[in-house]
Symmetry: none
């Protein structure tokens, strides 16, 4: 990989630190807010906080791994013997992405059977999506990257289709006061999730150099923004839905 | 012992970090969820969370010990003066394995006498099983490893037999809505526990080299997966049983 310059290294470091602060703050907000929602919605809010807590932990490790992978010297940036560990992101996603879908399903308060069926189907597809993405992420070869990106898009599109068609009926059955909010939460899921394959695709867009310092910088910052939207912002949304539904006794 | 390569070292590191995240997440989930079960089941859920908390602590230590035992250099992996500390696992199991059996007994809500009798018998056998396993784990000699594995299997089989024959009557007395769940919890205990002796046996299966880097890698990853199933997944199961029984007022 092409060597980053000090400015790129610091920009990514600051983005990681920002994510640590946001995820930590969201975790405390959600855990404290849990006492303000009705019994039925507590699990959805608990899981929202657990997702941001898991992300907080991993961004801490990611920050440390990034700092350990480079040494700032008087003449510029140098690589150390420790490679930046990309696996932390994938381990994080393997845990949090299925949980994010479960949050969304739980806050809808469907029947127990429907909740279990949808949770299993969507969480399973989400885990498959992450597992299929990893071999491409760690490969240095553009063709290999594209192949695994493509395979990973199959469960991704299955989830998106399910969120649109399968959940639309359930959304229409929600109380009026939260219907728009749940629709927004669903759209936020789809929108923030679309960021990930786009960021990943930076590796193989025509003209981009897969090993360039710019691409490496954009990918790290892109994933960080996506994580903040999909986990912290989304988690607060789930909390607001839970508060409104609690007020409406729905 | 044969030296690991950097890839094996990183794979095991990532598995340990994954376990830290899972155990931490499960702990928070169980401690928060405790407020959602009836008074009678709070102790079972508390203990489930304590088990994952103890495991969280030990995986943190295991991760640090693993990082300290090897140095990544520009030419590959080198052993440091610090040996990886296997004892953390056994100290963890000595505490958590008896507690896991107590969780399962408590969530059944047997009579006080039966609870005490079963808890003493099974927890005692579990502690004995762990103590008998340790001398084999730290020995470099295949014969010694096999001897202690064999001795450790005696209390192991005693526990498995008890879970099947002794608990079957108690399971049939459970309310219908949770009978399947408790049966699954019991089977999950037995199944996840069977992983441990199988992983341990990797040391002395014919053709395997007890000191090879492959065996060392598989053993660490195998134990980690077993711990996640037996503690975190099992703990969430116990919580679901407790919620269902609370709803049924059983």
């Amino acid at each position: 990989m092409e060597m980053l310059n000090v400015g790129q290294f610091e920009l990514v470091s600051n983005a990681f630190s920002f994510a640590i602060a946001v995820m930590g703050a969201a975790t405390i907000f959600l855990f404290l807010g849990r006492s303000q929602v009705a019994s039925h919605y507590k699990t959805a809010v608990t899981i929202s906080g657990i997702v941001t807590l898991i992300a907080f932990y991993h961004y801490w490790r990611i920050f440390d791994s990034w700092q350990g992978a480079y040494a700032v010297t008087k003449t510029g940036l140098e690589a150390t013997a420790h490679k930046f560990n990309d696996a932390y992101r994938y381990v994080d996603w393997l845990l949090t992405v299925p949980l994010l879908l479960i949050e969304l399903i739980l806050v809808m308060k469907l029947s127990r059977e429907e909740t279990t069926a949808k949770a299993q189907k969507l969480a399973g597809a989400a885990a498959l999506m992450i597992l299929l993405g990893y071999p491409g992420e760690i490969s240095a070869d553009v063709g290999t990257k594209f192949k695994w990106w493509f395979l990973s898009m199959i469960p991704f599109l299955y989830i998106v289709m399910n969120l649109f068609s399968g959940l639309s009926k359930a959304i229409n059955a929600q109380p009026e006061s939260v219907r728009d909010l749940i629709t927004t939460a669903r759209n936020l899921t789809v929108l923030s999730w679309c960021f990930y394959p786009v960021v990943y695709a930076l590796y193989f867009i025509p003209g981009a150099n897969v090993g360039s310092a710019e691409v490496a910088t954009y990918v790290q910052i892109g994933y960080t923004i996506s994580d903040i939207l999909a986990k912290a912002v989304f988690g607060v949304f789930i909390y607001v839905v839970a508060v409104r539904k609690s007020e409406a006794n729905a």
